[in-house]
Symmetry: none
Subunit: 188 residues, 4 copies
DNA sequence: GATGAATGAGGTTTCATTCAT
DNA sequence: TATGAATGAAACCTCATTCAT
């Protein structure tokens, strides 16, 4: 048997890519990513066929991690508001802890690089969160609006809240609470 | 920089840049931008010192145009809700009419290319809109939140609404109305 | 007006390509070709869109020059044998004088790089030579063989003769004469 | 080099190399050759010290096989024409049956990769064919020409005939006969 | 001022070869 | 011996910018 492909090395490349893209944008060079991951330039391409694939895998990796967090905890139990609140809090915790992942995810999402196939793969990891978001879209206030409208508003307001908390970390709890209540009034 | 020969040529380059960036991202080459603007590659650099400057000027140009629209109409009169509604509608009209400008503005805003100076210059064009947004941030529901929170929520929900209208243009009026009311509940 | 693209520079690149390919094969790098032509690496690509195009243009360039030589002189006059003999001699002179062009032409012809379009363009330069070769293919000895058979034999024997003359340059005239007579017996 | 484990594996690599070079030229990568041979990338280098060695061995392998065929059959008996005709037919059969080997052999022969040592080793396998070719070169028509001239013409015309037969396989026998007679007139 | 050819650094990717397993 | 991950030089090509015309 030859050397095995190392999951750690793969992850190191993904992590390096996130940091590098955070620092310099989607134009971040594969050479710099490899260097930051402490592998040779060519090694990157034994783990990812090309840069586009690397970026898609990075997006998937980030989203899977986020969904795993969102789907943990007291999932199916609780009222809709409680479950939505859990999503809200979990997302904010993640976004504050890993600002580079959040930023990279947004940039990749906005770019034309993410393939429909990757989006499908991402969706397959949504788990019980999807059910909560669907319920959210069927509430009274969303009458006449597409089902996914409420979850889009949730995502948008999470981003807003994250931005403000990042600027005023000391007020984290209060900002999170107030922003969530504002959100809830919009969709309830 | 001396006074420039042809304002039309300058604007042609900015317009071409917006279209090209919309099509291929911030990595759009100056050569392609020049070609689309029907000027020589070198000419671009007589109007803009370098690519970064071009992108900053493009951002400024887009924002100025948007602010000009937002500040037109029955500005100071009317209730806060009416004035906010005017902003909402005007933005959506603009975003639907010029999707490439909206997209480019978002991409530039998220990138690290826009300098603090540019942001200041942008702010200097905000006009009476700023007053309305300030009032919005001082309303009851925003108690305890930063003043700019409400306007950030406004911007975020405008984006969400634009996305949904872009996908269902036939429902434009209804989606706009319902989304605005949802927004208003959040901040009122 | 800006600087004009220089035909000399273009030709310098083609010449450098021929020498470089002669020395190291079709894998000759564009960097080395550019260096030998005394232009920057990037300059090569302002004259030729890519390496494949460069090689096709090189093939065309070589063939055009050869056809120009073959079509000069007392073309339409003389017997078929005299005209064929003119082709024979002219080719040998060229092949001995420019061995690298001959070799590169053979290598390119054998590779899969030359497009049908290039071959058509080459054919359009064949001029009166084509008429002579056609007549050659219609002679008695070629009965039952494709028309182009005789000209293929001519080309093949020219190559053989060139090889021997290259190894025994002192016997040039005699080898050429004897080889031509051998050829003529084959097709007459 | 010690005795090699598996002659089959060695031959599989050589066969794969021929096919791969036929498909993509001398630039064919060792990785693809190994893959086609169903061995690991590194294994290729346990059988051949490096790529250049592999190509030399491939050339030798092809030539040995061809000489083995040419030297089979009613070798020493028969007239010179009959023996030459045997070479002619045998070569054509081989070239039509293994077009990729013929093409690769030509490409390698023209490249600068084949060492003098390899050419010597090839020559050592020529067997009784060498005698026939020598006799051919001593015939009347070749007076004044190098001894090897006739055999070079033979090889050249075999190539021409092969090309035409490849394009008109239905006329194989007739084309072969006529072309051989044309050849014979040249050297007899 | 306008042009676009010229530049060479830097981008992505391939590749022959090595070497840990 | 066999494997295939690891390597980094080198390949082709793009690009922002300069500058001769």
């Amino acid at each position: 048997m030859a050397r095995l492909r190392s999951p750690q090395k793969r992850q190191a490349i993904l992590d390096a890519a996130a940091l590098e893209i955070d620092a310099t944008g989607l134009g971040a060079s594969t050479a710099r990513i490899a260097k930051r991951a402490a592998v040779a330039e060519g090694t990157l391409f034994t783990y990812f066929a090309n840069k586009e694939t690397l970026l898609n895998e990075l997006y998937l990796d980030i989203k899977i991690e986020l969904y795993r967090l969102l789907n943990s905890g007291p999932s199916a139990n609780g009222t809709l508001k409680e479950r939505t609140r859990h999503i809200w809090t979990t997302f904010l915790d993640w976004a504050i802890e890993f600002p580079e992942k959040r930023k990279v995810s947004l940039q990749l999402n906005m770019s034309d690089l993410i393939t429909p196939e990757t989006r499908e793969r991402v969706a397959s990891y949504s788990g019980t969160v999807a059910q909560t978001l669907t319920e959210l879209g069927q509430q009274g206030a969303s009458r006449g609006l597409p089902i996914s409208f409420a979850s889009s508003v949730l995502a948008a307001m999470q981003e807003v809240a994250t931005d403000f908390i990042a600027r005023q970390p000391a007020d984290r709890q209060r900002l999170s609470d107030l922003a969530f209540e504002a959100f809830w009034k919009a969709v309830d």
